[in-house]
Symmetry: D2
């Protein structure tokens, strides 16, 4: 029993295990079809409408390739481990809520998506009578072969390889293309650590530069941020209205539940655990449909912000190296207060500042080790004539101001 | 004032006219972001999530190229005509409702999307003080230069060139790729008719074969049809409930209005005209969000069908050359009646038959004329050693049966 | 021991058997680097400079894929058979002489390249102590599993799949692209016959249409033929001079030997067999370098023709459906006789006619069988609504006239 | 009069000026078809068989695009300047001899290819009655609009953009891909200097990293160097034999002339000038055909080296950060002396060392200036959070040893 799925990025994705086919058919997994991989990036890059489901299928495909390559080089990976690693990557993002990163910490505060992914995997493990245990162990890095976890989650995991490849493909930002097939061929496991063969150095440099470019040029694109900040402010306003008892009706049932529940919740983990099925019914459609409803809501702030997002009348965003001057912020707020007849607190929904941070390569996090022919191992930032130098190892912080036009 | 849009299919799309930029920013146009170009094809081809907006931008790009090529060959096209042709193609699909073709004739019966496109263009023309008049004349084929209409709507228009290119790109069905750039270079206008130069014959053959393939392999894919038939049955059931007074609550306001209104309407055109703004707020999000709500609706038929679509538990579809045997249909209905405890009429929502039709090349519709070096003109199906022969000029009809698993 | 070769068409080609590595390193095989896959097509399509070596490596890669797919579907292929099939395809073209098809029958008359391929394979088999025997049996269709021969040589062999893919890639003729990966996935063996699964029908149609297009648009392109006819006439003139004792000096030693030897030879097979090593030193460099020398040869005809080819001053070619009028030919000959001061026989080098023939699909040769789900088998030209119809099954003949400008 | 050329890299290249068509048809230009763009890189990357002619056509295409973009931004470029810039780039490499860089300084010592390009352009200028004067002035940087020269020759010229794009395309080294279309769209001229708009920073970083990768991974690939060093040693040996009166017969006439003449020449420029027509008949075919002849030459050194190159039995190359130990070199030489029965001087042909140098970005050479929105200008290595840092601005030197296996 074999299924072949057309994928414009890799050609064909082959699935040949009944458990995997069953997991893919599970409603929890199918929900990922209704969550955009890149939230509102499609408002700038119209092709970037691909789903979390498509990304996780792609990462699954790369995992299959990686396992094949490592086995060719003599690394032992049992069929059970193969299945575990494939399921772990298939489900690594299953805990994402609507608009994933863009709403993380707003909609479901205090619980990150990886914790929810684990919760869902555990629930599914019960349904599948323990067949997901190896996957869970690999996901949580409790499996004794550490390198399998590194393939799922590390500086050079198949998750990153797929999202960079896929996001650059669907946005049409050719500069973000990485040579995933060559990187896969350069993978090697030594002492239970995932490494890159010496002759793969330049492919790794290219990979890190592509990621750097995708962050600053695409993920943190000013108009993309302008859209995602609108979304955040809409949700914040709705929660504020709920808190004040001015009910923000128009939300779908599931969305309304979580907006309300979180305000009063003590143990947010517990809340999700109890209402996991409801959480697993939430997707981008709930949020966008609700925002369409809210665009005629009696609350002027909620309706104005919602209408802006629906009609793509986005916040303006400006970046600079230093924090923005309080005077400038004040001026902009005064302007909006008079234009929209708001008080100062309310103007905060329309003019605000923040920080965007990205690190090109963080050797302190998960190192990328290069294995030289003589058996020595060096971090990619420490080789001779390294492109990736010390200075890039620290985070780059940019300050932004965001305001209604 | 120039805007560049990344497009994974063509690289970059350039927009350099303020009126076009303004039209693109119009909420009516932005709505197309929320309508899938290929309805539920993404349930089979996960990459096929691109929007009607993206398609119309692509067709606009090809129109720009076509105009440039024709001018290079000496065809006179004035700046006003260029603008008109570009706007006509940009707006040619603006009248599509949610899930476009899949729901056409169900949601808004008796009014096709082209009529609604025209209505919307006329309304926008008033807003823009007549600046869209040339576009409208080209769209309705009332403009004296017929070939401009042919570029917008004909056997070889930029609409088809874009949707074939784009749909094959996003599905990853490489066989659907056409050589749009070569076809564009082979375009020529003679006696106000769009033609193809002799040396473009093989590219045209390839184009027709690609279209044939896309129809049978993608657009009429059994699982894609299984999904779109589910959608149709869901809407039919909701209308039935409304008709019987068993209100199908859960629908968004705009969707509910049109479901209800059409049942009682006499002049459907008039209905749309009066409620154009409401129509222009309808999109895939209304429909999908409503179906998610309906998946727990008290009506068993509505909730079962809705749940199937949400969880991708699609109708099974089988094709054959002759009509299906009444006995087979009856057996399947009996089976479903006992499994779901339904009466015979209700079972019709779960087991039914129909016909799918496609014509590879219809010379009676809009011919593709080949201009030979000696000045003679022949239809592509009449040249020597034609691949596209008489037999393919007729419609191919296939019968299908569709049923709940 | 594994070697990875970058291929712009397929990404990477992996070679993992020492015998294959050794064969590739053999001077006989390395010679294929110096034979253009597409002779002089690069005079029209400047990218078409790829070599026979590259093509055979590509076909080898597709063979690896095909074997993998068939095994996945349960067809038994032993390691020895795998090795045999791979070697057979790697060496299938090793008997090509300089400029392959363009000079076939001119340089080495009466012996086709497949016979020479077999001779070389037999010689190498002795060197490799019989390790090539299975490959030879598969190549000559003497192996009991017929389908392995079909993979090497049939209507749908990996040879054709590679040359269509590769030639369209390097020429940039996008319309020639076939979906080799999908066709490979649709391959199936039933009763020792290679077939295509039902859902691969449209890919096969696309493949046949792509081939048809490549023939008429690329391989038989008028300027390409104009170049290759120049080459043929140059060689014919040189042989004529040799025959008449007016020695055509300037040729490299190996080229000179074969030009001279064939004139007097009785058993051409025997000639090649005796001088196989010398034959295996002949390549495009001998011919082109010789032609460069001949461009200042005292024989006016030889030097004029040679200079034309070197400077890309090609013969003009015209095609038509009927034979050319003797009067036209005579007029053109008279014109050239006076312009270049030639007699009528000599003018035959500068003005001549011929026929080009191509068959879109020949069911009489090697059929393409479609395996339907119900187990029935039909030829691709006999299925319902076939694109590939009876009329295309016959050869299409075009008449050409070729003349010096 | 318009000609369209298929190019797999850019799709189509359009030529629409009679002077350009005439220059392309010139035998001097056609010679570039017979010079490999990447010398012997195809021995490692079998697809890398593209010609200098193809590269210069590609650079011409990018020049057309660049001129179009700059004009759109208001930079004045007259039709004469456009023609000049296009001819300058078309002919920029016309002075390359056989195997271009690989043999530069060996075959035609003391005269670089750019000086010969200029000589040829001047000669053609006479033939074309001065129509190439603007092209020559732009090429030699004597034209008053400096930026036109920068487009032809600078850190960011269309020459580099094409060769990186083309070389990565034909080798299949996907990591070398640059986003030439985006870079072109970011070009801007300020104060007669070519610059890049601020939002093009990441594309430039990607461009520099791609170039760095192509140098170390492709151009300086060990096996590629092993082949090109063989070529150099063969030519050196032939010159040695000529010098000693042991005539290295077997060379083509033109090749023999230059090998002999340079040994005795005083003014090498003068030599080329006098024999320009002969120089313009030299190409890769002369060299390779000669080497094939030499592979059975009586001089053991010449024949051994020649046979190695013909059969792809390449020198082994090793790199390291420090100079190689004299003892190691001596050992290897002793080994070869006994294996091939050579004296120490002769062993120098089979074992030798050298240095390979490459600079990722040299701001001292031709800077890449970034134009910020506020009008300020910074070098790409001096912007905030620059990827291209000081350390990379210096040349990286690697030592190599090269020896017969």
């Amino acid at each position: 029993m074999r299924k072949i799925i057309n994928d414009p990025v890799y050609g064909f994705i082959t699935i040949d295990h009944p458990l995997i086919l069953s997991i893919i058919a599970h409603p929890y997994y199918q929900r990922l079809r209704r969550i955009h991989q890149m939230a509102f990036a499609h408002l700038v890059y119209p092709g970037a409408v691909h789903s979390r489901l498509h990304h996780s299928l792609g990462a699954y495909h790369l995992m299959s390739c990686a396992i094949g390559e490592l086995r060719n080089k003599g690394t032992i990976i049992t069929p059970d481990e193969e299945l575990g690693a494939k399921i772990a990557i298939l489900l690594h993002d299953i805990g994402h809520g609507p608009y994933s990163h863009a709403l993380e910490n707003e909609l479901i505060p205090h619980v990150d998506h990886e914790a929810i992914s684990l919760l869902i995997m555990q629930t599914m493990n019960e349904q599948y009578k323990g067949q997901l245990q190896t996957a869970i162990d690999i996901f949580t890095n409790d499996y004794h072969k550490h390198f399998l976890h590194q393939l799922v989650s590390g500086q050079l995991d198949v998750d990153r390889m797929d999202y960079l490849s896929r996001d650059s493909f669907f946005t049409g930002v050719a500069e973000g293309v990485i040579s995933y097939d060559r990187i896969l061929k350069m993978l090697v496991v030594t002492d239970d650590e995932l490494m890159i063969e010496e002759k793969g150095i330049y492919s790794i440099e290219k990979f890190l530069v592509a990621r750097r470019l995708m962050y600053w040029q695409v993920y943190l694109h000013k108009a993309v941020m302008g859209a995602e900040m609108l979304l955040v402010k809409i949700i914040q306003r709705a929660k504020e209205l709920l808190r004040k008892g001015k009910i923000a009706d128009g939300a779908t049932k599931a969305l309304n539940f979580f907006l309300a529940a979180h305000e009063s919740a003590v143990d947010h983990d517990e809340l999700i655990r109890k209402h996991l099925d409801l959480f697993c019914s939430l997707d981008d459609y709930d949020v966008m449909c609700t925002i369409k409803n809210w665009s005629s809501h009696p609350d002027k702030i909620l309706s104005t912000l919602s209408r802006c997002l629906v009609d793509r009348n986005l916040f303006k965003v400006r970046f600079q190296g230093e924090p923005f001057d309080a005077k400038l912020i004040h001026e902009k707020r005064c302007d909006i207060m008079s234009r929209l007849d708001l008080n100062e607190e309310e103007a905060g929904y329309f003019v605000f500042t923040g920080e965007a941070v990205n690190t090109t390569y963080d050797p302190g996090d998960e190192r990328i080790n290069i294995l030289f022919k003589d058996g020595s191992v060096k971090d990619v930032s420490e080789i001779d004539n390294a492109l990736i130098h010390q200075q890039l190892a620290g985070p780059v912080k940019k300050y932004y101001i965001c305001y209604y036009r």
